[in-house]
């Protein structure tokens, strides 16, 4: 076929794939909203562990009662006093660095005020970049103060705790910053591998693939046509996830957006090749779907460093994690987003991902051919 004919054929095929995708409104809606939902859900769900709350105490009173309050905080395992001082000046840099979660400000003359029954205003400042953990920490601190208050001798009227929530940019909100890259990996894998596997195995199951293969379309045109629309969808998903992460959790993007998108496209290609491989290896849509879930979901969440750090995995699993593409992709995304890393720092990961992609591509093409012969 002449070149324009080939292009026309490819265009017709890509159009048809787009029609399939656009017509299946429910699936499309799910696919488009998934990154948004996951970023928000995971963001709040993963970050509820508040065991090691770092507290700073500004003691302007320095009397028996304020010392008792000190001792209260020192005595709970949940809190760790990281700084104490006489003035509130010390707080600003601590919050800015993210070295402290909660600050307690004790007003001057606390013991006198309490003895006189005058109002004493305790100030509680909480880093609330994440509203969920912010309020939890606030509640814990409140409980400690209430305990201290209950043990006060004599009158206890007039004590006022003034909670103050500060929306501080916190660079070490680690869990949220670390999981967003993992989430991008997960969403991309789902959209690319799972959807390609399903759509290709559907054509096998229905027999339409046979008709396509009898047509002058080249197998690579069929694959490309299948894959191109999902690449587009994957692109939209990356952008959604980034925007959601930034708007909801203020996850920074310190490196190059272009490099990040490029890396995402490379990773999508890996997923697409994996999808083709799974479809070629399995007989039906159902098996293809389960197969794709198995080879994508579990490894990319559990063995990728997304939730559990690679270093904390048992050695055999650490070795296995080397062939999980998500592991390398997450390193790339974290590097670009959190550290502003460039190609110079990440070329190894890029090389590994490219190698995995080429390997999968060869394996997929082979299985595809075997399947048809």
């Amino acid at each position: 076929m002449r070149a324009p004919g080939r292009l026309r054929a490819l265009r017709a095929f890509v159009l048809k794939e787009l029609w399939h995708i656009l017509r299946d409104r429910q699936t499309l809606t799910i696919l488009l909203l998934m990154p948004l939902a996951q970023v928000v859900l995971f963001g709040f769900a993963i970050r509820t562990d508040v065991t090691d709350i770092r507290v700073a105490i500004v003691d302007q009173a320095v009397d028996a009662d304020s010392k008792a309050l000190h001792a209260r905080f020192a005595g709970t395992s949940r809190f760790r006093i990281v700084a104490t001082g006489p003035t509130t000046h010390l707080l600003e840099p601590l919050f800015r660095r993210g070295a402290v979660d909660v600050a307690l400000v004790i007003p001057p003359g606390l013991a006198n005020d309490l003895a006189a029954g005058a109002p004493a205003r305790l100030q509680l400042i909480t880093d609330a970049s994440n509203p969920n953990t912010g309020s939890t920490m606030q509640a814990y601190a409140g409980a400690v103060i209430a305990g201290w208050q209950a043990d006060l001798p004599g009158t206890r009227a007039g004590l006022q705790v003034v909670p103050q929530v500060r929306m501080r940019f916190n660079q070490t909100l680690e869990s949220v910053n670390l999981f967003v890259p993992g989430l991008i990996a997960l969403v991309l894998t789902l959209v690319t591998a799972l959807m390609t596997a399903i759509s290709l195995s559907r054509e096998m199951e229905r027999g339409t693939l046979e008709v396509l293969l009898v047509s002058p379309l080249h197998p690579w045109q069929i694959i490309l046509g299948k894959v191109a629309p999902y690449l587009l969808l994957a692109f939209a998903n990356v952008v959604t996830a980034l925007v959601a992460a930034w708007v909801v959790f203020q996850v920074p993007l310190r490196g190059s957006l272009l490099l990040l998108l490029g890396a995402s496209m490379l990773y999508s290609l890996v997923g697409l090749a994996l999808g083709v491989l799974v479809a070629a290896r399995t007989g039906s849509q159902r098996t293809a779907m389960i197969g794709a879930m198995l080879v994508t979901m579990l490894p990319s969440t559990l063995l990728s460093g997304m939730i559990f750090p690679i270093a904390s995995l048992p050695t055999p699993l650490q070795i296995v994690s080397n062939v999980v593409p998500a592991r390398w992709f997450i390193v790339v995304v974290r590097g670009i987003m959190l550290k502003g890393a460039g190609v110079v720092h990440l070329w190894q990961e890029f090389t590994i991902l490219t190698a995995i992609f080429l390997l999968l591509l060869v394996a997929a093409t082979r299985s595809f051919k075997e399947r048809l012969a």
């Binding site: 004919g5 080939r6 054929a9 159009l15 048809k16 029609w19 229905r206 027999g207 046979e210 002058p216």
Partner: protein
């Protein structure tokens, strides 16, 4: 006389099993050829080799003047194929399906649009242009599938049990379409289980256990086996002991 299909000693083995055993067939251009055989006789395997979906173990075949092994792309461009399974996309509209297949065969937009109009006119489907294919009755689907397989005006069209599950009236209409295609010079190579359909063919072959047991016009076959109907011929060949 030009040959549309030329098959020489075509063989396909799967392990120890010989599905197609050195068959030789010649089909003239413009002929309607019936390719008959019981289930499992090897028809589908033979067709798959002719349309390039399966490589032969040995032997050779030329379709539309091109070698299926060495010139498969030329073969594919010059044939149409309607598979046993319904080959249109259920979740696309009638016109989208036509546009897709026209595009795949490299037709330009103007040609596709002109042929689509003519086709829908003939099929009396003009009002269903924007309907989802899944909403059409089976008979219409099959006629549409055949028309789509003919969209790029192939020189040879392969029909693998095209009328399965279709009512007698629609089957009659379907064969009228096949004759119309043949009249315009397209060679038709069809498998079927319906012996009344076999009667419509110019010539036919009957496959038994991977071999071609008989070949000729319906009249010749009935005479050779001294049988009143093709049904009878078929049963005698397929069950030699009876």
């Amino acid at each position: 006389m030009t040959l549309a299909i030329e098959v020489r000693d075509l063989t396909r083995r799967f392990g120890d099993f010989t599905a197609v055993d050195a068959i030789s067939v010649e089909v003239r251009a413009g002929e309607v050829f019936g390719f008959l055989g019981a289930n499992g006789a090897g028809k589908t395997t033979a067709i798959r080799m002719l349309i390039g979906l399966l490589a032969p173990t040995s032997g050779s075949a030329r379709v539309a003047g091109f070698d299926v092994l060495t010139q498969s792309e030329d073969v594919r461009r010059n044939i149409g194929y309607m598979s046993q399974r319904f080959s249109l996309y259920d979740d696309l509209t009638v016109s989208e399906n036509i546009t897709l297949y026209g595009g795949i065969y490299g037709l330009d937009d103007a040609t596709i649009s002109a042929r689509m109009d003519a086709m829908l006119q003939t099929l009396d489907l003009a009002s269903a242009r924007r309907s989802m294919v899944r909403s059409l009755p089976l008979g219409w689907k099959q006629k549409l599938a055949f028309s789509v397989a003919m969209l790029h005006r192939p020189r040879v069209v392969f029909l693998d049990e095209p009328t399965g599950g279709v009512d007698p009236i629609t089957r009659r209409q379907f064969w009228e379409m096949i004759y119309a295609a043949a009249a315009e010079g397209t060679t038709v190579f069809a498998t079927t289980h319906y012996m009344d359909e076999a009667e419509y063919c110019d010539r036919l072959s009957i496959m038994v256990d991977g071999r071609i047991a008989a070949m000729g016009t319906p009249g010749e076959l009935k005479a050779a086996y001294n049988a009143p109907s093709l049904d009878e011929v078929f049963v005698r060949l397929a069950r030699p002991a009876a």
